[in-house]
Subunit: 110 residues, 2 copies
């Protein structure tokens, strides 16, 4: 592994968590999500976010509604389902567990 794809590899699966976190606050459409993740210093591109949203929708974690746009084509606004909120809790737990494991590895032995 080289430096360039370092964060790329480390984020595998985490983007799912971040996207759900984001949508839990407020509904959004794909381009909007990309912008918001960029605000959080997470660089994401279209080729990543569209398949991700489709997966989450097919698993029943998200739903969407088409809505007219003031400019340009209509938008798909995604929102969390109840199942999605439950899944978000699980992801949160998994993330916290990972952090605990790392903390454990840091302080251990010497």
């Amino acid at each position: 592994m080289i430096k360039e794809n370092l964060s790329s590899q480390m984020r595998k699966g985490v983007l799912e968590y971040c996207t759900l976190l984001l949508l839990n606050r407020k509904r959004a459409y794909a381009s909007d999500i990309i912008t918001r993740l960029k605000d959080a210093r997470l660089i994401v591109v279209e080729g990543t976010i569209y398949p991700l949203l489709s997966r989450l929708k097919n698993d029943g974690f998200l739903t969407y509604e088409w809505e007219e746009s003031p400019q340009g084509p209509p938008r798909k606004y995604y929102t969390l389902t109840d199942k999605g909120r439950e899944f978000l809790v699980e992801l949160e737990t998994a993330w916290n567990d990972l952090n605990e494991s790392i903390a454990h590895l840091k302080e251990k032995t010497l």
Copy 2:
């Protein structure tokens, strides 16, 4: 994505960080590493750790020395190189950045 491979995906790339963290404290051989990661609640198996160690070695982040074992075949004891220690710092930064991004997404808007 289903619940089972949730943590699996999330850990992608993180295991590299954990392994380097672990070896930064004390040298170890593969089976030893698996045991130590298990102590930190990270379940890892042989098929994961051996390719990972090979990659890190080929990238110059690790070196190893063969050493006799009190029982069974000789062991490959891995240690970090200077380049490996530099890489560990980068991984640490990447990890902290990810945590900051998530914290940002949690508190943002509402």
